[in-house]
Protein backbone atom coordinates (compact mmCIF):
# COMPACT_ATOMS: atom_id res chain seq x y z
CA UNK A 1 0.00 0.00 0.00
CA UNK A 2 1.66 3.20 -1.18
CA UNK A 3 -0.74 5.68 0.29
CA UNK A 4 -1.35 5.78 4.03
CA UNK A 5 -4.62 6.77 5.61
CA UNK A 6 -2.99 10.02 6.71
CA UNK A 7 -2.27 10.96 3.10
CA UNK A 8 -5.98 10.53 2.45
CA UNK A 9 -6.99 12.51 5.55
CA UNK A 10 -4.85 15.42 4.27
CA UNK A 11 -6.78 15.48 1.00
CA UNK A 12 -10.39 15.08 2.13
CA UNK A 13 -12.76 13.71 4.78
CA UNK A 14 -12.33 9.97 5.20
CA UNK A 15 -15.30 7.61 5.46
CA UNK A 16 -15.39 4.67 7.87
CA UNK A 17 -18.12 2.04 7.79
CA UNK A 18 -21.47 1.84 9.56
CA UNK A 19 -22.74 -0.45 12.27
CA UNK A 20 -21.42 -3.99 12.21
CA UNK A 21 -23.40 -5.49 15.06
CA UNK A 22 -26.62 -4.24 13.52
CA UNK A 23 -25.71 -5.85 10.18
CA UNK A 24 -24.65 -9.15 11.76
CA UNK A 25 -28.01 -9.37 13.51
CA UNK A 26 -29.75 -8.60 10.24
CA UNK A 27 -27.85 -11.47 8.61
CA UNK A 28 -29.04 -13.81 11.32
CA UNK A 29 -26.47 -13.78 14.12
CA UNK A 30 -28.28 -15.86 16.77
CA UNK A 31 -29.15 -14.34 20.13
CA UNK A 32 -26.34 -14.79 22.62
CA UNK A 33 -23.73 -15.80 20.04
CA UNK A 34 -20.33 -14.19 20.32
CA UNK A 35 -20.04 -12.16 17.09
CA UNK A 36 -16.29 -12.80 16.75
CA UNK A 37 -16.89 -16.53 16.26
CA UNK A 38 -18.46 -15.76 12.90
CA UNK A 39 -14.99 -14.80 11.61
CA UNK A 40 -14.27 -18.53 11.54
CA UNK A 41 -17.76 -20.01 11.37
CA UNK A 42 -19.46 -17.70 8.86
CA UNK A 43 -16.60 -15.72 7.30
CA UNK A 44 -18.62 -15.50 4.09
CA UNK A 45 -21.27 -13.38 5.80
CA UNK A 46 -18.74 -11.17 7.59
CA UNK A 47 -16.89 -10.64 4.31
CA UNK A 48 -20.15 -9.79 2.53
CA UNK A 49 -20.95 -7.11 5.13
CA UNK A 50 -17.49 -5.55 4.77
CA UNK A 51 -17.82 -5.65 0.96
CA UNK A 52 -21.23 -3.96 1.12
CA UNK A 53 -19.68 -1.08 3.05
CA UNK A 54 -16.79 -0.70 0.59
CA UNK A 55 -19.33 -0.74 -2.24
CA UNK A 56 -21.34 1.96 -0.48
CA UNK A 57 -18.25 4.18 -0.40
CA UNK A 58 -16.34 3.41 2.80
CA UNK A 59 -12.61 4.09 2.64
CA UNK A 60 -12.08 1.99 5.79
CA UNK A 61 -13.93 -0.89 7.40
CA UNK A 62 -13.55 -1.98 11.03
CA UNK A 63 -12.95 -5.63 11.73
CA UNK A 64 -15.45 -7.88 13.46
CA UNK A 65 -13.38 -7.89 16.65
CA UNK A 66 -15.12 -5.30 18.81
CA UNK A 67 -15.53 -7.74 21.70
CA UNK A 68 -12.37 -9.68 20.88
CA UNK A 69 -10.10 -8.96 23.81
CA UNK A 70 -9.48 -11.80 26.24
CA UNK A 71 -11.31 -10.24 29.18
CA UNK A 72 -14.48 -9.71 27.13
CA UNK A 73 -14.26 -13.12 25.46
CA UNK A 74 -13.95 -14.76 28.86
CA UNK A 75 -17.66 -14.08 29.38
CA UNK A 76 -18.26 -16.60 26.56
CA UNK A 77 -15.49 -18.92 27.76
CA UNK A 78 -13.48 -18.05 24.65
CA UNK A 79 -10.44 -16.31 26.17
CA UNK A 80 -8.20 -19.01 24.73
CA UNK A 81 -9.12 -18.03 21.16
CA UNK A 82 -8.02 -14.38 21.11
CA UNK A 83 -5.32 -14.93 18.50
CA UNK A 84 -7.46 -17.16 16.29
CA UNK A 85 -10.57 -14.95 16.26
CA UNK A 86 -8.81 -11.61 15.89
CA UNK A 87 -6.40 -12.64 13.15
CA UNK A 88 -9.36 -14.21 11.33
CA UNK A 89 -11.29 -10.94 11.71
CA UNK A 90 -8.41 -9.06 10.09
CA UNK A 91 -8.01 -11.57 7.26
CA UNK A 92 -11.73 -11.56 6.40
CA UNK A 93 -11.77 -7.76 6.19
CA UNK A 94 -8.57 -7.78 4.16
CA UNK A 95 -10.15 -10.19 1.65
CA UNK A 96 -13.07 -7.80 1.22
CA UNK A 97 -10.91 -4.71 0.81
CA UNK A 98 -10.26 -3.46 -2.72
CA UNK A 99 -6.79 -2.13 -3.51
CA UNK A 100 -6.17 1.26 -1.94
CA UNK A 101 -8.79 0.82 0.79
CA UNK A 102 -8.07 0.35 4.47
CA UNK A 103 -8.80 -2.10 7.25
CA UNK A 104 -9.00 -0.89 10.86
CA UNK A 105 -8.69 -3.38 13.71
CA UNK A 106 -11.57 -2.65 16.08
CA UNK A 107 -10.90 -2.93 19.82
CA UNK A 108 -13.88 -2.29 22.08
CA UNK A 109 -13.97 -2.08 25.89
CA UNK A 110 -13.43 -5.02 28.23
CA UNK A 111 -16.75 -4.34 29.94
CA UNK A 112 -15.04 -4.64 33.30
CA UNK A 113 -13.86 -1.96 35.70
CA UNK A 114 -10.38 -1.10 36.85
CA UNK A 115 -9.60 -0.98 40.56
CA UNK A 116 -10.92 0.47 42.81
CA UNK A 117 -14.34 0.26 41.14
CA UNK A 118 -13.65 -3.23 39.82
CA UNK A 119 -11.06 -5.96 40.18
CA UNK A 120 -8.73 -5.39 37.26
CA UNK A 121 -5.38 -3.64 37.15
CA UNK A 122 -4.15 -1.40 34.36
CA UNK A 123 -1.42 -3.88 33.46
CA UNK A 124 -4.00 -6.66 33.06
CA UNK A 125 -5.91 -4.43 30.64
CA UNK A 126 -2.67 -3.53 28.82
CA UNK A 127 -1.89 -7.19 28.38
CA UNK A 128 -5.34 -8.07 27.09
CA UNK A 129 -5.41 -5.22 24.57
CA UNK A 130 -1.82 -6.02 23.58
CA UNK A 131 -2.68 -9.64 22.84
CA UNK A 132 -5.61 -8.53 20.71
CA UNK A 133 -3.58 -5.86 18.88
CA UNK A 134 -0.86 -8.38 18.05
CA UNK A 135 -3.37 -10.78 16.52
CA UNK A 136 -5.04 -8.03 14.47
CA UNK A 137 -1.62 -6.90 13.23
CA UNK A 138 -0.80 -10.48 12.30
CA UNK A 139 -4.00 -10.68 10.26
CA UNK A 140 -3.02 -7.63 8.24
CA UNK A 141 -4.87 -4.52 9.47
CA UNK A 142 -3.60 -1.09 8.42
CA UNK A 143 -4.41 0.61 11.70
CA UNK A 144 -6.04 -0.02 15.05
CA UNK A 145 -9.10 1.73 16.43
CA UNK A 146 -9.72 1.57 20.16
CA UNK A 147 -13.38 2.51 20.40
CA UNK A 148 -16.49 3.05 22.50
CA UNK A 149 -14.27 3.68 25.51
CA UNK A 150 -15.99 5.13 28.57
CA UNK A 151 -13.00 5.12 30.91
CA UNK A 152 -9.98 7.23 29.97
CA UNK A 153 -7.73 5.04 32.14
CA UNK A 154 -8.81 1.97 30.16
CA UNK A 155 -8.30 3.76 26.85
CA UNK A 156 -4.77 4.71 27.91
CA UNK A 157 -4.01 1.15 29.02
CA UNK A 158 -5.29 -0.08 25.65
CA UNK A 159 -3.12 2.47 23.83
CA UNK A 160 -0.04 1.36 25.76
CA UNK A 161 -0.78 -2.32 25.13
CA UNK A 162 -1.36 -1.78 21.42
CA UNK A 163 1.77 0.36 21.13
CA UNK A 164 3.88 -2.37 22.67
CA UNK A 165 2.40 -5.27 20.70
CA UNK A 166 2.05 -3.57 17.31
CA UNK A 167 4.47 -0.63 17.27
CA UNK A 168 4.31 -0.16 13.51
CA UNK A 169 0.54 0.41 13.41
CA UNK A 170 -1.07 3.82 13.92
CA UNK A 171 -3.70 3.77 16.66
CA UNK A 172 -6.89 5.82 16.74
CA UNK A 173 -8.95 6.23 19.91
CA UNK A 174 -12.64 7.11 20.19
CA UNK A 175 -14.50 7.56 23.47
CA UNK A 176 -18.21 7.48 24.08
CA UNK A 177 -19.82 10.48 25.72
CA UNK A 178 -23.16 11.34 27.27
CA UNK A 179 -24.58 14.82 26.82
CA UNK A 180 -25.44 16.61 30.06
CA UNK A 181 -26.60 20.20 30.64
CA UNK A 182 -23.06 20.85 31.86
CA UNK A 183 -21.43 19.38 28.79
CA UNK A 184 -20.14 16.09 27.39
CA UNK A 185 -18.82 13.51 29.85
CA UNK A 186 -18.01 9.82 29.66
CA UNK A 187 -19.59 7.39 32.11
CA UNK A 188 -16.56 7.81 34.32
CA UNK A 189 -16.77 11.59 34.15
CA UNK A 190 -13.92 12.18 31.69
CA UNK A 191 -14.04 15.42 29.71
CA UNK A 192 -12.96 16.00 26.10
CA UNK A 193 -10.12 18.36 27.01
CA UNK A 194 -8.46 16.14 29.61
CA UNK A 195 -8.96 12.99 27.55
CA UNK A 196 -7.42 14.48 24.43
CA UNK A 197 -4.42 15.77 26.33
CA UNK A 198 -3.71 12.40 27.90
CA UNK A 199 -4.30 10.41 24.71
CA UNK A 200 -2.08 12.68 22.64
CA UNK A 201 0.69 12.33 25.18
CA UNK A 202 0.37 8.56 24.95
CA UNK A 203 0.77 8.64 21.18
CA UNK A 204 -2.64 8.33 19.58
CA UNK A 205 -2.71 9.43 15.93
CA UNK A 206 -6.38 10.48 15.80
CA UNK A 207 -9.08 11.04 18.42
CA UNK A 208 -12.82 11.37 18.60
CA UNK A 209 -16.10 9.88 19.69
CA UNK A 210 -18.48 7.12 18.72
CA UNK A 211 -21.78 5.67 19.91
CA UNK A 212 -24.38 6.89 22.46
CA UNK A 213 -25.13 10.15 20.62
CA UNK A 214 -27.09 10.70 17.42
CA UNK A 215 -25.62 12.80 14.62
CA UNK A 216 -27.22 16.02 15.85
CA UNK A 217 -25.70 15.76 19.34
CA UNK A 218 -22.41 14.62 17.84
CA UNK A 219 -21.85 18.00 16.12
CA UNK A 220 -21.22 19.85 19.41
CA UNK A 221 -18.88 17.09 20.49
CA UNK A 222 -16.87 17.36 17.27
CA UNK A 223 -16.52 21.08 17.94
CA UNK A 224 -15.19 20.37 21.43
CA UNK A 225 -12.62 17.93 20.02
CA UNK A 226 -11.59 20.36 17.28
CA UNK A 227 -10.94 23.04 19.91
CA UNK A 228 -8.83 20.63 21.94
CA UNK A 229 -6.52 19.13 19.32
CA UNK A 230 -4.73 19.47 15.99
CA UNK A 231 -4.95 15.72 15.42
CA UNK A 232 -7.50 14.32 12.98
CA UNK A 233 -10.93 14.17 14.63
CA UNK A 234 -13.18 11.11 14.25
CA UNK A 235 -16.97 11.02 14.70
CA UNK A 236 -19.21 7.96 14.35
CA UNK A 237 -22.73 8.68 15.61
CA UNK A 238 -25.61 6.33 16.36
CA UNK A 239 -28.81 6.50 14.39
CA UNK A 240 -30.58 7.53 17.58
CA UNK A 241 -31.85 4.97 20.04
CA UNK A 242 -33.22 1.55 19.16
CA UNK A 243 -36.93 0.94 19.59
CA UNK A 244 -38.68 -2.38 19.52
CA UNK A 245 -42.22 -2.71 18.31
CA UNK A 246 -44.47 -5.30 19.91
CA UNK A 247 -43.92 -7.75 17.08
CA UNK A 248 -40.16 -7.68 17.47
CA UNK A 249 -39.24 -5.27 14.69
CA UNK A 250 -36.28 -3.04 15.49
CA UNK A 251 -36.11 0.50 14.27
CA UNK A 252 -33.74 3.30 15.18
CA UNK A 253 -35.09 6.64 16.23
CA UNK A 254 -32.93 8.69 13.88
CA UNK A 255 -33.95 7.87 10.33
CA UNK A 256 -31.63 8.07 7.37
CA UNK A 257 -32.47 11.58 6.16
CA UNK A 258 -32.43 13.03 9.67
CA UNK A 259 -29.07 11.42 10.33
CA UNK A 260 -27.34 12.64 7.18
CA UNK A 261 -28.78 16.13 7.60
CA UNK A 262 -26.12 16.77 10.24
CA UNK A 263 -23.18 15.36 8.28
CA UNK A 264 -22.25 18.67 6.58
CA UNK A 265 -22.34 20.33 10.02
CA UNK A 266 -20.09 17.63 11.47
CA UNK A 267 -17.60 18.21 8.68
CA UNK A 268 -17.83 21.99 9.11
CA UNK A 269 -17.29 21.58 12.85
CA UNK A 270 -13.99 19.95 12.04
CA UNK A 271 -14.46 16.19 11.69
CA UNK A 272 -11.81 14.61 9.47
CA UNK A 273 -13.02 11.02 9.70
CA UNK A 274 -16.71 10.12 9.85
CA UNK A 275 -18.66 6.92 9.93
CA UNK A 276 -21.73 5.42 11.55
CA UNK A 277 -22.28 3.39 14.70
CA UNK A 278 -25.31 1.47 16.01
CA UNK A 279 -28.33 1.47 13.73
CA UNK A 280 -26.50 2.67 10.64
CA UNK A 281 -26.09 0.51 7.55
CA UNK A 282 -24.71 0.75 3.98
CA UNK A 283 -27.56 3.11 2.99
CA UNK A 284 -26.34 5.66 5.55
CA UNK A 285 -22.77 5.33 4.29
CA UNK A 286 -23.90 5.78 0.66
CA UNK A 287 -25.52 9.12 1.54
CA UNK A 288 -22.52 10.22 3.62
CA UNK A 289 -20.22 9.42 0.69
CA UNK A 290 -22.26 11.79 -1.48
CA UNK A 291 -21.61 14.63 0.98
CA UNK A 292 -17.92 13.93 1.08
CA UNK A 293 -17.64 13.89 -2.70
CA UNK A 294 -19.13 17.39 -2.86
Amino acid sequence: MNRTIFDLIKKRAVLFDGGLGTELMRYGLPLGTCPETWNVERPDIVQRIHASYFEAGSDVVSTNSFGGNGIKLAAHGLEGRVRELNSAAARVARRAAPAGKFVAGSMGPTGKFLQPQGEFTESEFEEAYGEQAGALAEGGVDLLIIETQYDLKEALAALRGAGRAAPSLPVFVTLTFNKFPRGYFTLMGNTVALSVEALEREGTRAVGANCTLNSEDMVGLVRAFREATKLPVIAQANAGKPALSGDGQVSYSQGLEDYVRFVPEMLKAGANVIGGCCGTDPAYIRRMAEFIKK
Binding site: G32, G111, P181, L187, M188, G189, P242, A243, L244
Partner: protein, 216 residues
Amino acid sequence: MVREELFNDIRKAIVEGDKPRAQELAREAIGLGADLNEVIDKGYVPGIQTVGELWEKGEYFLPELISSAECMKAAMDILQPEMAKANIKSRSLGKVVIGTVEGDIHDIGKNLVASMLQANGFEVFDLGADVKLERFIEKAEVEKADIICLSALLTTTMLNQKRFIEMLRQKGHYGKYKVLVGGAPATRKWAEDIGAQGFAENAALAVKAAKAAMAK
Protein backbone atom coordinates in the same frame (compact mmCIF):
# COMPACT_ATOMS: atom_id res chain seq x y z
CA MET B 1 -28.76 19.46 68.54
CA VAL B 2 -26.29 16.63 68.74
CA ARG B 3 -28.47 14.27 66.77
CA GLU B 4 -29.03 16.69 63.85
CA GLU B 5 -25.29 17.24 63.70
CA LEU B 6 -24.73 13.50 63.60
CA PHE B 7 -27.22 13.06 60.75
CA ASN B 8 -25.59 15.92 58.81
CA ASP B 9 -22.12 14.50 59.31
CA ILE B 10 -23.29 11.10 58.15
CA ARG B 11 -24.95 12.55 55.05
CA LYS B 12 -21.75 14.48 54.27
CA ALA B 13 -19.58 11.38 54.66
CA ILE B 14 -21.71 9.44 52.17
CA VAL B 15 -21.83 12.30 49.66
CA GLU B 16 -18.07 12.71 49.91
CA GLY B 17 -17.45 8.98 49.66
CA ASP B 18 -15.49 9.10 52.92
CA LYS B 19 -15.56 5.45 54.00
CA PRO B 20 -13.52 5.75 57.24
CA ARG B 21 -15.71 8.64 58.37
CA ALA B 22 -18.93 6.80 57.48
CA GLN B 23 -17.73 3.83 59.53
CA GLU B 24 -16.56 6.04 62.41
CA LEU B 25 -19.95 7.75 62.56
CA ALA B 26 -21.73 4.40 62.54
CA ARG B 27 -19.72 3.35 65.57
CA GLU B 28 -20.39 6.72 67.19
CA ALA B 29 -24.13 6.30 66.68
CA ILE B 30 -24.01 2.90 68.35
CA GLY B 31 -21.96 4.35 71.22
CA LEU B 32 -24.52 7.13 71.72
CA GLY B 33 -27.32 4.57 71.93
CA ALA B 34 -29.11 6.30 69.08
CA ASP B 35 -32.13 4.80 67.34
CA LEU B 36 -30.30 3.02 64.54
CA ASN B 37 -33.26 2.92 62.18
CA GLU B 38 -33.48 6.70 62.56
CA VAL B 39 -29.75 7.04 61.93
CA ILE B 40 -30.16 5.13 58.68
CA ASP B 41 -33.34 6.97 57.59
CA LYS B 42 -32.13 10.48 58.48
CA GLY B 43 -28.41 10.19 57.88
CA TYR B 44 -27.34 7.44 55.50
CA VAL B 45 -30.32 7.22 53.17
CA PRO B 46 -30.56 11.00 52.48
CA GLY B 47 -26.82 10.86 51.79
CA ILE B 48 -27.16 8.26 49.08
CA GLN B 49 -30.25 10.04 47.72
CA THR B 50 -28.22 13.23 47.32
CA VAL B 51 -25.59 11.19 45.46
CA GLY B 52 -28.33 9.93 43.14
CA GLU B 53 -29.47 13.49 42.45
CA LEU B 54 -25.92 14.60 41.67
CA TRP B 55 -25.59 11.66 39.26
CA GLU B 56 -28.83 12.63 37.52
CA LYS B 57 -27.61 16.22 37.21
CA GLY B 58 -24.40 15.04 35.59
CA GLU B 59 -22.20 16.26 38.42
CA TYR B 60 -21.37 12.87 39.87
CA PHE B 61 -20.22 10.01 37.68
CA LEU B 62 -19.65 6.33 38.06
CA PRO B 63 -16.58 6.47 40.30
CA GLU B 64 -18.39 8.74 42.78
CA LEU B 65 -21.50 6.60 42.70
CA ILE B 66 -19.59 3.43 43.37
CA SER B 67 -17.49 4.90 46.16
CA SER B 68 -20.55 6.33 47.91
CA ALA B 69 -22.35 3.01 47.58
CA GLU B 70 -19.33 1.34 49.17
CA CYS B 71 -19.38 3.81 52.05
CA MET B 72 -23.00 2.93 52.53
CA LYS B 73 -22.27 -0.79 52.53
CA ALA B 74 -19.38 -0.36 54.98
CA ALA B 75 -21.60 1.58 57.39
CA MET B 76 -24.42 -0.97 57.08
CA ASP B 77 -21.93 -3.77 57.80
CA ILE B 78 -21.37 -2.10 61.17
CA LEU B 79 -24.96 -1.12 61.96
CA GLN B 80 -26.86 -4.21 60.88
CA PRO B 81 -25.16 -6.78 63.15
CA GLU B 82 -25.68 -4.33 66.03
CA MET B 83 -29.35 -4.11 65.19
CA ALA B 84 -29.61 -7.88 64.94
CA LYS B 85 -27.99 -8.20 68.38
CA ALA B 86 -30.52 -5.84 69.88
CA ASN B 87 -33.28 -7.63 68.01
CA ILE B 88 -34.13 -4.48 66.10
CA LYS B 89 -35.55 -5.37 62.74
CA SER B 90 -33.85 -3.24 60.12
CA ARG B 91 -36.58 -1.76 58.00
CA SER B 92 -36.40 -3.10 54.52
CA LEU B 93 -38.25 -1.12 51.89
CA GLY B 94 -38.96 -4.29 49.98
CA LYS B 95 -37.39 -7.33 48.37
CA VAL B 96 -36.01 -7.08 44.86
CA VAL B 97 -34.85 -9.80 42.50
CA ILE B 98 -32.67 -8.31 39.77
CA GLY B 99 -30.69 -9.59 36.81
CA THR B 100 -29.81 -9.18 33.16
CA VAL B 101 -32.05 -11.34 30.98
CA GLU B 102 -30.90 -14.50 29.22
CA GLY B 103 -28.83 -13.97 26.11
CA ASP B 104 -27.42 -10.72 27.44
CA ILE B 105 -24.16 -10.42 29.34
CA HIS B 106 -24.19 -6.66 29.92
CA ASP B 107 -24.19 -5.97 33.64
CA ILE B 108 -22.56 -2.65 34.50
CA GLY B 109 -25.83 -0.75 34.68
CA LYS B 110 -27.64 -3.60 36.38
CA ASN B 111 -24.88 -3.81 39.05
CA LEU B 112 -25.25 -0.12 39.68
CA VAL B 113 -29.00 -0.40 40.08
CA ALA B 114 -28.56 -3.31 42.52
CA SER B 115 -26.03 -1.25 44.53
CA MET B 116 -28.25 1.79 44.67
CA LEU B 117 -31.34 -0.19 45.62
CA GLN B 118 -29.42 -1.87 48.40
CA ALA B 119 -27.94 1.41 49.59
CA ASN B 120 -31.42 2.89 49.68
CA GLY B 121 -32.82 0.17 51.92
CA PHE B 122 -34.10 -2.59 49.66
CA GLU B 123 -33.15 -6.22 50.15
CA VAL B 124 -31.61 -7.18 46.83
CA PHE B 125 -31.07 -10.61 45.26
CA ASP B 126 -28.80 -10.14 42.25
CA LEU B 127 -28.94 -13.14 39.92
CA GLY B 128 -26.19 -11.84 37.63
CA ALA B 129 -26.34 -11.77 33.85
CA ASP B 130 -27.67 -14.12 31.16
CA VAL B 131 -30.31 -15.29 33.61
CA LYS B 132 -32.94 -17.77 32.43
CA LEU B 133 -36.39 -16.23 32.74
CA GLU B 134 -37.67 -19.07 34.94
CA ARG B 135 -34.93 -18.33 37.49
CA PHE B 136 -36.32 -14.87 38.13
CA ILE B 137 -39.66 -16.39 39.04
CA GLU B 138 -38.15 -19.19 41.12
CA LYS B 139 -36.07 -16.77 43.18
CA ALA B 140 -38.95 -14.34 43.59
CA GLU B 141 -41.16 -17.18 44.85
CA VAL B 142 -38.58 -18.51 47.30
CA GLU B 143 -37.70 -15.08 48.71
CA LYS B 144 -41.28 -13.76 48.53
CA ALA B 145 -39.98 -10.81 46.57
CA ASP B 146 -41.97 -7.66 45.90
CA ILE B 147 -40.21 -6.46 42.78
CA ILE B 148 -38.49 -8.09 39.83
CA CYS B 149 -36.04 -5.90 37.90
CA LEU B 150 -35.02 -6.96 34.39
CA SER B 151 -32.13 -5.40 32.53
CA ALA B 152 -31.48 -5.80 28.81
CA LEU B 153 -29.11 -3.82 26.63
CA LEU B 154 -29.78 -5.27 23.20
CA THR B 155 -32.95 -4.82 21.19
CA THR B 156 -32.86 -8.59 20.63
CA THR B 157 -32.64 -9.49 24.31
CA MET B 158 -35.21 -6.81 25.19
CA LEU B 159 -37.79 -9.20 23.78
CA ASN B 160 -37.11 -11.40 26.78
CA GLN B 161 -38.59 -8.72 29.00
CA LYS B 162 -41.81 -9.10 27.02
CA ARG B 163 -41.57 -12.91 27.16
CA PHE B 164 -41.09 -12.72 30.92
CA ILE B 165 -44.37 -10.89 31.45
CA GLU B 166 -46.10 -13.45 29.23
CA MET B 167 -44.54 -16.21 31.33
CA LEU B 168 -45.87 -14.56 34.49
CA ARG B 169 -49.36 -14.48 32.96
CA GLN B 170 -49.17 -18.13 31.93
CA LYS B 171 -48.22 -19.14 35.44
CA GLY B 172 -50.98 -17.00 36.93
CA HIS B 173 -48.47 -14.73 38.65
CA TYR B 174 -49.18 -11.51 36.75
CA GLY B 175 -49.64 -8.72 39.28
CA LYS B 176 -48.07 -10.75 42.08
CA TYR B 177 -44.72 -9.07 41.46
CA LYS B 178 -44.01 -5.55 40.30
CA VAL B 179 -41.86 -5.85 37.18
CA LEU B 180 -39.51 -2.99 36.38
CA VAL B 181 -37.50 -2.93 33.15
CA GLY B 182 -34.31 -1.11 32.33
CA GLY B 183 -31.35 -0.94 30.00
CA ALA B 184 -30.51 1.52 27.25
CA PRO B 185 -33.31 0.53 24.84
CA ALA B 186 -36.06 0.46 27.47
CA THR B 187 -38.58 3.27 27.36
CA ARG B 188 -41.79 4.13 29.21
CA LYS B 189 -43.75 3.15 26.13
CA TRP B 190 -42.00 -0.21 25.94
CA ALA B 191 -42.76 -0.85 29.61
CA GLU B 192 -46.42 0.03 29.06
CA ASP B 193 -46.68 -1.99 25.84
CA ILE B 194 -45.42 -5.15 27.48
CA GLY B 195 -47.37 -4.74 30.71
CA ALA B 196 -44.48 -3.97 33.05
CA GLN B 197 -45.23 -1.89 36.14
CA GLY B 198 -42.41 0.56 35.59
CA PHE B 199 -39.16 1.47 33.93
CA ALA B 200 -36.15 3.60 34.79
CA GLU B 201 -33.47 5.28 32.76
CA ASN B 202 -30.67 5.08 35.30
CA ALA B 203 -29.82 3.76 38.75
CA ALA B 204 -31.03 6.84 40.64
CA LEU B 205 -34.39 6.78 38.86
CA ALA B 206 -34.60 3.04 39.44
CA VAL B 207 -34.67 3.70 43.17
CA LYS B 208 -37.53 6.16 42.67
CA ALA B 209 -39.38 3.66 40.48
CA ALA B 210 -38.92 0.88 43.04
CA LYS B 211 -40.24 3.09 45.85
CA ALA B 212 -43.19 4.13 43.69
CA ALA B 213 -43.90 0.47 42.89
CA MET B 214 -43.94 -0.39 46.60
CA ALA B 215 -46.37 2.45 47.29
CA LYS B 216 -48.97 1.04 44.88
